[in-house]
């Protein structure tokens, strides 16, 4: 018999912190990570010795990055490890921290994500298996191909995808941690340099540097450390899957998202229509359309019309990418999935300021990564 996270004791997000996502600088990575971790400790109003384990989502820093950074908080001897799972590295680190607390191994665990851009090739290029496209199909072209198919099947237009970027850049303009903080019009997005198929530069996420940190605690930890229960957000479910062989020429990222989300929302005991806030993997504008439909938030082919009507705005039916998403907040890889949990926690606490979606009670975080992998969490206000 197997047991999902929700069947163990409750696990809560009790502290959140970020270092702004930004273009690569000369700043050493410990500066980024320590800023996010110290902010999360201050947010939880606890001290570093209260933390019992660390899961560090990072894909690009290289071997043994965690203690080299966190030793500057004062060595306490706790277990620490790097978690690499492509774009879902941070999401996977958070899942492991939540599972460790839920199963009772620890009362307080830290999930942190830190990365800086690197030119290291993907392991997939070293498997000894290569295709015939000769390196010409990079991620933006993978999604441009899927976008072209979507336009043909549903009569959608390039404007339908560009509107995702308009919404998310609008949200990012109000997020002081976002890499892109400038609102853009539909004309700005469409007239931006063409990249691949219907995608323009502003419909592709910036990959820079940054850090995000989330502290997870049990009821026992919360009581023992005197943490404010009103600011705790419960982890309702955690689901993680990998790709299988789907029907030929299917959208595997969307299919994987569908299966993983079904599992996560069933475990949380909710329906897609219960979601108030969603942070999803909008590395490219078209992905937001695909995944909202795969999640059951929109019917097949219906996401563009709902987007146009404002359904996915802050204050709409469900706020999608209120942080600005990967498109505007940015996608520094390791931090991204942890940063989604930070935004959802802020929203469910009612502390998101001008980005606040009113009465947000249930939020969903979703990341996919090359491979392909998918991680989905559902969080609920306490």
């Amino acid at each position: 018999m197997t047991t999902p996270l929700s069947a163990f004791r409750p696990a809560y997000v009790v502290g959140i912190g970020l270092h702004p996502y930004q273009r690569m600088t000369e700043t050493p990575y410990p500066v980024l990570g320590l800023a996010a971790v110290r902010e999360a400790l201050r947010d939880a109003r606890i001290d570093w010795p209260a933390v019992e384990s660390v899961y560090h989502g990072t894909a690009l820093l290289g071997m043994a990055s965690t203690r080299a950074m966190l030793r500057h908080l004062g060595g306490t001897g706790i277990p620490m490890q790097q978690i690499e799972n492509a774009s879902a590295s941070g999401s996977t680190a958070f899942r492991l921290a939540a599972l460790e607390v839920a199963t009772g191994v620890s009362d307080v665990s830290l999930a942190v994500g830190v990365d800086k851009p690197s030119a290291r090739p993907l392991a997939g290029s070293q498997t000894g298996i290569r295709g015939i496209e000769g390196g010409r199909v990079v991620p933006f072209t993978h999604f441009a191909l899927l976008a072209q198919r979507y336009m043909e099947r549903h009569g959608a237009s390039p404007e339908d995808f560009a509107r995702v970027a308009v919404k998310n850049h609008g949200n990012g303009a109000h997020n002081p941690y976002a890499q892109r903080q400038q609102a853009r019009s539909l004309i700005d997005v469409l007239n931006d340099p063409a990249i691949s198929g219907p995608l323009t530069r502003l419909q592709c996420c910036p990959v820079g540097e940054g850090a995000a940190a989330v502290i997870v605690a049990s009821e026992d930890g919360i009581a023992r450390l005197g943490i404010d229960r009103k600011r705790c957000v419960r982890v309702l479910s955690s689901a993680q899957r990998t790709e299988v062989v789907y029907a030929e020429s299917s959208n595997f990222d969307a299919e994987l998202t569908r299966q993983t989300t079904v599992q996560a929302i069933a475990e949380a005991g909710i329906k897609p229509s219960d979601l108030d806030v969603i942070e999803l993997h909008d590395a490219f504008s078209v992905e937001e359309i695909f995944y909202l439909e795969a999640m059951g938030v929109a019917g097949d082919g219906e996401a563009p019309a709902m987007l146009r009507s404002g359904a996915f705005d802050i204050g709409g039916d469900v706020a999608v990418s209120p942080s600005g998403g990967l498109l505007a907040m940015g996608h520094p890889i390791g931090p991204t999935g942890v940063g989604q949990i930070v935004e959802i926690t802020r929203q469910l606490r009612g502390e998101a300021g001008v980005r606040q979606h009113a009465n947000a009670r249930v939020g969903l975080a979703h990341m996919v990564g090359v491979g392909a992998v998918c991680v989905v969490h559902v969080l609920g206000s306490n």
Partner: protein, 143 residues
């Protein structure tokens, strides 16, 4: 001069000017895949002795396309067009199209692969044959 294939592990010349992709078929589950590998079946896990060599004719139907305007790698000159092709033999592949623009591209169009001399670098002399797909002449609907 006689041109060499740039990827003899991936495709070979066949009758006329047609091309065959070097694929595999799993004798346990029937899954047909490209490219060829000996690690194990992606669908059922059968080991190398169940993976039979099959040749997949490089013809099929265009299921999507994208004109790529920018590319990070300096050796790859943009723009170019990528086609996503479901081969008549089953697998869906992605290939570089001969056509320099996507003006005539249409999902559902018939396409086929041919070998073309392609320089390794944009200004270098052609010395290898590479596989490129192109649109086949469509029957004229008015005739």
């Amino acid at each position: 001069m006689r041109y060499e294939l740039s990827h003899p592990d991936l495709y070979r010349e066949a009758r006329g000017d047609s091309v065959e992709l070097l694929g595999l078929k799993c004798s346990k589950c029937g899954y047909v895949a490209f490219p060829r590998q000996r690690y194990g079946c992606e669908k059922c896990g059968a080991t190398a002795d169940s993976l039979l060599d099959v040749e997949l004719t490089a013809s099929g139907t265009l299921v999507s396309y994208a004109k790529v305007h920018m590319h990070q790698a300096k050796a790859i000159a943009a723009p170019f067009v990528i086609g996503e092709v479901t081969l008549d033999a089953g697998p869906t592949i992605r290939a570089t199209m001969v056509e320099p623009t996507d003006d005539a591209m249409q999902i559902g169009a018939r396409v086929a692969g041919r070998l073309f001399p392609v320089p390794a670098l944009p200004d270098a002399p052609s010395d290898k044959l590479e596989l490129r797909f192109s649109l086949l002449d469509q029957p004229d609907a008015r005739s």
